[in-house]
């Protein structure tokens, strides 16, 4: 066990998996110099063939990752900031996600996409969006959103070993968070939620950077005698419905906290599933706490008004407790 930051956990997962499997390689914009630090040092270790800078051409290099995967490689493709995925949407949605199915199970697409998402203060609408809801309805993609260094390492390693396309969303504000991370071959299975805190009064499902925020609220509300259970689904597709329903059968109340825009959010999808399968367990309507339905604004007070904060999460919890 060592104390690692989120970024160090990413680097550990990448270098361990690249060491393990010579068919892996990294491609993306400025991965060699590593602007945000997640691939720092890998060029020196694995060389420019396997740590491959690309031109600024998302459709091109994302598609190249798809092609390389179909031809036997195991690409790890970095899209610097999540909204740039839109520039490569066809290659992800029409190609990577569909090719196996359309080819009657012939194609194998062991690709890991990694991307930085979320609002971290003053980057404005084209750099701050929570992008995963656009990909959630796409059959053939796995979507993973780690909330801390240990999950980051374990999920990224599983993503790289997965023989299907997996997109790992890494929150821009979590880079320096630090915790104990198991050494060596630590794998977190994709599709398994994590109960981050136990409680019997209400289940709070939180995603990505909303997890530490929900944990802070839970700690605070404990002082008022409210026992909040915080669950991190960790993977949105597939979703660990069982863990969520088990929690719901104990608490009978649920709040879902998502940094995405409310309409069409992951929170909406989870709420629909819980309502459909857990209706009899509910003592109150499910509450979604999500971003306001406007692009993420630049100015700090506006950004803060749009993204769920602790006050809004606490208010959501109190609302379902009645």
């Amino acid at each position: 066990m060592a104390q690692l930051t989120f970024l160090q956990a990413i680097r550990a997962a990448l270098s361990e998996e690249m060491e393990r499997d010579p068919s892996t390689f990294i491609l993306g914009e400025d991965v060699a110099l590593s602007a945000f630090g997640s691939t720092r040092g890998l060029l020196e270790r694995f060389g420019p063939e396997r740590v491959r800078d690309t031109p600024i051409s998302e459709a091109g290099f994302v598609g190249a990752a798809v092609g390389a995967a179909m031809a036997g490689m195991r690409p790890i493709c970095e899209i610097e900031i999540a909204p740039f995925i839109y520039c490569a949407f066809d290659q992800i949605v029409n190609q990577a996600a569909k090719l196996r199915y359309m080819s009657g199970g012939q194609a194998r697409l062991p690709i890991t996409f990694r991307t930085l998402y979320g609002a971290a203060g003053g980057a404005a609408a084209q750099h701050s969006e929570t992008v995963y809801p656009h990909l959630l309805p796409v059959p053939g993609l796995k979507i993973v959103v780690p909330s801390g260094p240990a999950d980051m390492k374990g999920l990224l390693k599983s993503a790289i070993r997965d023989d299907n396309p997996v997109i790992v969303f890494e929150h821009a504000a979590l880079g320096r968070t630090r915790e104990e991370v198991p050494d060596g071959d630590y794998l977190v299975p994709i599709g398994k939620a994590s109960v981050k805190r136990e409680g019997r009064d209400v289940t709070v499902v939180a995603i990505g950077a909303m997890v530490p925020r929900a944990m802070a609220v839970a700690a605070h509300l404990a002082g008022d005698g409210i026992a909040v259970e915080v669950i991190d689904p960790r993977s949105l597709a597939p979703l660990d419905e069982e863990t969520l329903l088990n929690s719901l059968s104990k608490t009978n109340r649920m709040v879902i906290v998502d940094e995405a825009h409310l309409r069409g959010s992951a929170a909406s999808e989870i709420a629909a599933t819980m309502a459909e399968k857990g209706f009899d367990l509910l003592d109150a309507p499910i509450k979604r706490v999500a971003a306001l339905d406007v692009p993420i604004p630049f100015s700090r007070p506006l950004e803060a008004a749009v993204i769920p904060d602790e006050a809004r999460i606490a208010a959501g919890i109190r609302a379902v407790l009645g």
Binding site: L33, I56, E58, A125, R300
Partner: protein, 324 residues
């Protein structure tokens, strides 16, 4: 081509305004007074100014993440720009956009852009609109050398060529896309040669020589207005500062040499123009000094305006999404 004294003075004024504005932004971010991040264009002033000097007020531009210079060159108001970068409600976008998204539609500035290559099809569409409405307005499209590797660049040049659109594609080749040297990301030495593939004229221009940029831009604008279609101008220049202000804090190692930076600083576009006009006796030194002083004062006044301006109220986050 004879360039009148007034045009030259105005270009000199704009270049100083950009230099002072960008230097100020850099200082304010470094001092922690303004939030977020910004891409400044110190050293690249001649390209923005030479292009926009050839445009009319009704002509339009699209810009990039490194857009302050383009906006100032097209007549952008320093105070409202500064207020936007401060996130104030008096800013051009009421605090919703910030440095990377400033726009002033009344001046034909269709906006900076946070997406590399995002503005290129937009400029193309703006030119299409001029053509469809039988106006002889042109659109100048600024983008970087890095953007010339995006599909949008290639798709746009093809469209503009087949539709003979009145657009000037202005590639500011400043040597880098983020931390990657242009040479290692681009198939050709001169991006201008890519024009050939789309059967349009393409020229390599000294992007640090404002008079040369102005001449090429004037010619391209004249062609566009005459219905002869698009032109690609590759303006070779250099970014003196980092990709983003403060990058030293998070990148390790360097991606260029001190000598290279010094070599380009010795080719300062502002000093080059000074030498040219003083040498020809067109303008006196005192006049130039006065212009430089005025630019400094304007930037100080802009900072003051921004500091005094209120922040937006949280409820304003819900406004401006829809045409009501």
């Amino acid at each position: 081509m004879d360039i009148g004294k007034e045009v030259v003075l105005e270009m000199y004024r704009k270049m100083h305004r950009i230099r002072q504005f960008e230097q100020k932004i850099k200082d304010l971010i470094t001092a922690g007074e303004i939030p977020g991040f910004a891409h400044v264009s110190i050293g690249e002033e001649a390209t923005a100014v030479g292009i926009c000097a050839a445009l009319r007020p009704t002509d339009r531009i699209t810009s990039t993440h490194r857009g302050h210079g383009h906006l100032i060159a097209k007549g952008g108001d320093l105070a409202r720009m500064m207020a936007e970068i401060y996130g104030r409600r008096t800013g051009y976008c009421k605090g919703k956009g910030g440095s990377m998204h400033i726009a002033d539609f009344s001046l034909g500035i269709l906006g900076a852009n946070g997406i590399v290559g995002g503005g290129i099809p937009i400029a193309t569409g703006s030119a299409l609109a001029a053509k469809l409405s039988h106006k002889d307005d042109v659109t100048a499209c600024f983008f970087g050398d890095g953007a010339a590797n995006e599909g949008t660049f290639h798709e746009s040049l093809n469209l503009a060529s087949i539709w003979k659109l009145p657009v000037i594609y202005v590639c500011e080749n400043n040597g880098f896309g983020e931390f990657t040297p242009t040479a290692s990301a681009t198939s050709v030495k001169d991006i201008a040669v890519r024009a050939k593939g789309y059967d349009i004229p393409g020229y390599v221009v000294d992007g640090n020589n404002v008079l040369e940029v102005y001449r090429y831009a004037s010619e391209a604008a004249a062609r566009a207005r005459a219905g002869e279609g698009p032109t690609l101008l590759e303006c070779k220049t250099y970014r003196w500062e980092g990709h983003v202000v403060g990058e030293q804090a998070f990148i390790t190692g360097s991606y260029r040499t001190e000598e290279e930076v010094a070599r380009w600083k010795a080719r300062c576009p502002i000093i080059a123009l000074e030498q040219e006009v003083l040498g020809s006796g067109l303008i006196k030194r005192e006049e130039l000094e006065r212009i430089a002083r005025e630019a400094r004062d304007q930037v100080e006044a802009a900072v003051e305006f921004a500091r005094q301006s209120p922040m937006p109220e949280p409820a304003e986050a819900g406004e401006d999404l829809w045409v009501e």
